[in-house]
């Protein structure tokens, strides 16, 4: 199988996946199914966005809910003050992303001065500052929160569809951006920082601007996702908008699929979010889901520390190599193998 055929197959698979995603609400028009679809897409977006910063740079953020919440509150307040309803509200999404990106600049300037543990802890602290502010400021409606605009003239049968398609567009764009970043010089600089920041700096990577750009980019997308979510949910309450479980869920999704890969966070979101939503439907109490969630997290960290996709890719490569050795051995001596080993395609991509 030549390289161009492999690429063609991969593109065809990707197109089929997008087509399937686009047809999903038409086939499963039941509101519960489309509801699952919207929330899952939102997590596809956020997990990919998180991965663009944390997966590529190695700086684990446990505070992305700050950007998510900023986008959410921006949408609620802006649509109220500018009297927007219906589909017009969707035009606020990019602006909500900009609001989150603006918040990301000071956060990054402070937090990115430190590394490793300290960075993670500062992102947690920033998260709690945000939650506290949302509960106490008047612009966010305090602890009782605010109501998002209600698009009440939409047909209840297809109510979820506009959210679904907007989410799908953002999700596809985010994955494309993730791919573009990974293949660019900028992505290479980010991964150099992940591997050894001091050496990268020694080789001329201007670490701070590169890290900050990645964080701002990631925050922009996360803010859009937060705005879409709040419009879909209909209300912004501090403890749900700024939810520590949200941060963990996103990190788990990226880890589950494969940190720093393109398809990994998408796979993680597609598998884990519907599972969690389903569990919540089955068990009205929150704790069963919480215990299972924690246990799954431990299993992934202990047994699949590099994620499903890289681990699977390793198994496939190892299996192929074993097959090749076996074939070589079974051939009579002196006849060179006609098969050239297929390069272990980085199928993790």
């Amino acid at each position: 199988m030549s390289k161009s055929v492999a690429r063609g197959l991969r593109l065809a698979g990707l197109a089929a996946l997008i087509a399937m995603a686009a047809l999903f609400p038409l086939v499963f028009s039941n509101p519960t199914a489309t509801n699952f679809g919207v929330v899952t897409l939102i997590f596809v977006i956020v997990a990919s966005a998180w991965n663009i910063f944390s997966g590529y740079s190695g700086y684990l953020s446990l505070g992305h809910a700050v950007f998510y919440g900023t986008g959410a509150y921006f949408l609620v307040v802006a649509s109220r003050d500018w009297h927007l309803t219906g589909s017009a509200v969707f035009w606020l999404l990019p602006l909500a992303g900009v609001a989150a990106a603006v918040i990301a600049v000071p956060v990054g300037l402070i937090a990115l001065r430190v590394r490793r543990h300290t960075f993670v802890v500062i992102t947690i602290a920033v998260f709690f500052i945000a939650q506290l502010s949302a509960s106490n400021l008047s612009i966010t409606g305090g602890s009782s929160g605010l109501l998002a605009p209600v698009p009440n003239n939409w047909d209840p049968a297809t109510y979820n569809n506009p959210f679904y398609y907007v989410g799908l567009i953002i999700a596809v764009a985010t994955v494309a951006l993730s791919l573009a970043v990974r293949r660019s010089r900028f992505g290479l600089q980010l991964r150099a920082i992940r591997d050894d920041e001091d050496r990268a700096a020694g080789l001329g990577v201007r670490a701070m601007p590169v890290k900050l750009t990645a964080l701002v980019l990631s925050a922009f997308i996360t803010g859009m996702a937060g705005a879409l979510w709040v419009y879909f949910i209909g209300q912004a309450i501090p403890q749900f908008v700024f939810d520590p479980l949200f941060d963990l869920a996103v990190v788990l999704m990226a880890f589950f699929g494969g940190l720093g890969t393109i398809a990994g966070p998408v796979l993680g979101a597609l598998v884990l979010e519907p599972t969690q939503l389903w569990l919540n439907l089955q068990q009205s109490n929150g704790y069963t889901a919480e215990i299972l969630f924690g246990a799954l997290f431990l299993v992934v960290i202990l047994f699949l520390p590099r994620g499903v996709l890289p681990t699977a890719a390793e198994y496939i490569t190892a299996g192929r190599a074993r097959l090749m050795r076996h074939r070589d051995r079974s051939q009579p001596l002196g006849t060179p193998s006609a098969q050239t080993p297929t390069p272990a395609a980085g199928s993790a991509q």
Binding site: V114, I122, N285, Y287, F293
Partner: protein, 292 residues
Amino acid sequence: MGTEITQAIAAGILGGGVYALMAAGLTLIFGVLDIINVAQGIMVVLGAYLSYVLSTHLHLNLLVGLVITVPAMFVIGVAVYTLFIRPLRGSERTSMTLLACFAVALIIEGVLYWQFGSNYVSLHSSFTSSSVHVFGFYLADIYLVGFGLAVVAIAALYLILYRTTFGRAVRATMQNQTAARLVGIDVNRVAAVTFGIGTAVTAIGGAVFGAINSFTPNSGYDLISRLLAIVILAGMGSIGGALGAAVLMTTAEALVDIWQPDWAVAVFYLAMVIILTVRPAGLFGRRPVRAQ
């Protein structure tokens, strides 16, 4: 007004002792194992619930109950370390251990919700409702008892660290793990016991915390964010620094609380952010945090 301020300072210093104890456990674990135990907050809540069970079902005095809860938390700490932390190796170990601790915290929180529900409970004892009259204001006895307990526990921690062979092994491991291994220290055992000790102090912290505040399984988040702020402010791995930072922060919080109760907690985080922009290694940081 003057009385209010004196009272706030007294409550801040006394309350700071308990936070200092919990933060000391956190910073000890960090110093030896290079792990941030984000489960420390929920461990405190777990310790509080253990005391709650002992006092409601067995009618044990809070202080007597510690004889059971401290070893219990020690065992839990050693078990968590052996099962979930020790197997983690490799270049991503730092972030992996942090996430593993977070996962453990989630499981504990879930189990607590399952067993105790989400209603607020608090610990009661003979000294939780009484108070003493000093300097013209009333101070609840529990603050004094809690502070006393914290001082005793921290003193014990210091004695273990600086007066025993085990403590010397711990300090050696903190300074250089490879060298410690070379001179014959069983680093794995030291790590497991340190994690156990760091967790055991949460039993005391939990008993006092639960007697001062009412709590739910959700209280762990508030606790851990405060503890992390203290430890970062102090400089990771500095036990003495954690004591200073804890007292400083709780006093500042108590003072702000007089005028702005809603924003008092923010003092913790704001102080941390401001200090880190000036001194990334923290106030008493022993080693540069920037070093990889």
